[in-house]
């Protein structure tokens, strides 16, 4: 396993992930122009020209500033949705698998029902309903759109991670050490917290990384469809805004696309490494 951790690809992945998180956290401190500042004298400038490292788009916005600010929004949405979805989903999944019986039946049926609406379609439906204003002429504010996006994607993530948590708990709940703890008179609450959760957590963690990737793609897709964050605030909406300029200034959409793709690749790779490590640990047991 150590060889994987020391491999060039893994280091590169972690470095990229760290860079994006750095952008998201310390972005405002970087010596960059404001992401909403318009450079009238530099429209659709290609990268490395006129002092713009990644160029500007057709409105004269600096693309690097947009990427840095977009990292903040895109990562905020995906981390929050996966964290909330993970906590709620795990709580439901673990308790269902531990209690079994009718409760478990109801939970698994509900998970199945929600999972039978494809991810993107479900989040589209939720956003369509939650972000609607009664008056069609009043646009929904960006803040409300982000909130709605987080809620919708959380609802999408709950059954995905909940199912993993349920399956993992099922495989641990009848092990000898749980039986032993029970026969020694431990309470259910302490068995769950001390014996089940620590064992189930790594499996959830591995899938959570994949889920972050899924949410970044979903957020971008929704923005591309006009249902996500507007005005180039996130990476997805930068792509959406640059779509009309694809013929004469392709770098406007290619740069955010590269950032989306590399971040998703990193998430999947890290998740994959955690999962492999987990399989090896389980094989040893």
């Amino acid at each position: 396993m150590d060889s994987v951790k020391k491999s060039f690809a893994f280091r590169l992945t972690v470095a990229w992930f760290a860079l994006i998180i750095f952008f998201a956290v310390f972005g405002p401190l970087l010596p960059l122009p404001n992401w909403q500042e318009v450079f009238d004298d530099a429209l659709s400038v290609t990268p490395l020209k006129q002092g713009h490292l990644l160029g500007t788009d057709s409105n004269g916005y600096d693309i690097l500033s947009g990427i840095v600010y977009g990292a903040r929004i895109s990562l905020f949405i995906s981390f929050t949705a996966v964290f909330l979805g993970g906590v709620i989903g795990s709580a439901i999944g673990i308790s269902a698998a531990y209690v079994r019986g009718k409760y478990d039946y109801v939970v698994s049926t509900l998970f199945n029902v929600v999972l039978s609406v494809p991810n993107l379609v479900l989040s589209l439906a939720l956003i369509a309903v939650l972000a609607t204003n009664v008056d069609p002429n009043v646009p929904t504010s960006t803040g409300r759109r982000i909130t709605v996006l987080v809620i919708s994607l959380t609802i999408v993530i709950i059954p995905i991670l909940g199912r993993i948590a349920r399956a993992a708990t099922l495989s641990w709940a009848n092990r000898e050490f749980v039986l032993a703890a029970r026969s020694m008179g431990s309470k259910d609450r302490s068995i769950i917290w001390r014996h089940i959760v620590p064992n189930v957590l790594p499996a959830i963690f591995a899938v959570a990384f994949l889920a972050i990737g899924v949410v970044i793609v979903a957020e971008a897709s929704l923005s591309l469809l006009g249902a996500g964050v507007p005005d180039g605030t996130s990476w997805g909406s930068m792509v959406a805004r640059g779509r009309n300029d694809i013929e004469f200034a392709p770098h406007i959409i290619i740069i955010p696309l590269i950032f989306i793709a590399l971040t998703v690749i990193s998430c999947n790779y890290i998740g994959d490494v955690i999962r492999k490590q987990l399989d090896q640990r389980q094989a040893k047991l």
Partner: protein, 321 residues
């Protein structure tokens, strides 16, 4: 008798899931911040809105509305898009949209299988070699790149810069096969890349496991050619895994198709969903989303039954349970 009971139980489960899914979608549409008709038809006279409300059953409470909608839905009446001047039925829109979406997904699945089966078999056969590592690495990267990114870049490079194919629109088969496929190349390519990666990775690990089985050694010791062993003895059991994976990936494919249809201006079901959303047609939206979910559930059931036919082992296992 036992088998019949098993069948009845599964049909019961299917009906329950379909009922709950449609209920969920109907419930979602009730989360609107105001009255549905007020939102759908802003600025229309109150009497007109009242007529629509009664027509839709929205005056009968949630369950009254739901059951009226469900009854119509089962009969094939999916409601209407309402405009200031009148209405168009969702069914008439679907008549145009559904074939496009179905063809798009069918082509993507066919292309994905046609590429991933030989690729998966050969990389498993040469597991550990440079070829295998190159294929695995490339596919891992491509499995993570979202289909809309591939679509946009293909549209840019192949469609705009090279001008080889038409990047936008849809041409039905009746207007010329060549034009039809020329318009489908880019959308299908964008959707199938992710599937190719998923299927090849799965097939590779499956085949590597199968190659260690005793019956493969037996076949080899009888002097059968490697090619024959791979296709007849090794690939066959793996085809079940592939089918299950195809079903699992269907949800992602549907989502991907929604975006790809919008990028390439193909007026399929995904395009209609976005149209209903943009024009605030929540009744049509409810029917369209319910339709997608029902189709997805039924597809999974069909795959499940089909894999039972292909592999008697899963049939037995299910019988024992």
């Amino acid at each position: 008798m036992n088998k019949l009971g098993e069948l009845a139980k599964r049909i019961g489960q299917l009906v329950l899931v379909l009922f709950l899914v449609t209920l969920l979608v109907a419930f979602l549409m009730r989360l609107l911040p105001a009255d549905t008709v007020d939102i759908m038809l802003p600025g229309q006279p109150e009497e007109f809105k009242e007529v629509i409300r009664q027509e839709l059953g929205l005056d009968k409470g949630f369950f009254g509305y739901y059951f009226q909608w469900l009854t119509n839905f089962v009969k094939g009446d999916f409601g209407s898009f309402y405009f200031a001047g009148g209405s168009e039925t969702v069914a008439s829109h679907l008549g145009n949209a559904l074939p496009k979406s179905l063809l798009l997904m069918l082509y993507s699945q066919i292309v994905a299988l046609a590429v991933s089966i030989p690729l998966g078999l050969s990389s498993a056969y040469r597991a550990g070699t440079k070829f295998d590592r190159a294929v695995s690495g490339t596919l891992f990267t491509f499995s993570s790149v979202p289909s809309f990114a591939i679509g946009l870049i293909l549209a840019l490079v192949v469609g705009v810069k090279l001008g080889w194919v038409e990047p936008l629109g849809y041409v039905p088969m009746s207007e010329g096969l060549v034009e039809h496929f020329k318009h489908m190349v880019l959308p299908v390519a964008s959707l199938s890349v992710g599937l190719i990666a998923a299927y090849t990775r799965l097939l590779r690990s499956d085949v590597i496991a199968t190659l260690k089985e005793d019956y493969v050694t037996m076949a080899a010791s009888k002097g059968l050619s490697d090619r024959r062993i791979l296709w007849r003895h090794v690939f066959r059991p793996s085809s079940i895994t592939l089918m299950t994976s195809a079903a699992l990936n269907m949800g992602g494919l549907i989502g991907g198709a929604v975006v790809i249809e919008n990028i390439f201006s193909i007026q399929g079901v995904g395009f209609e969903i976005i149209y209903a959303l943009g024009t605030r047609q929540y009744v049509a939206l409810q029917s369209l989303i319910a339709l997608v979910a029902v189709g997805y559930v039924l597809f999974n059931v069909v795959v499940d039954i089909a894999s039972g036919f292909v592999d008697p082992r899963t049939r037995e296992r299910r019988g024992l349970r």
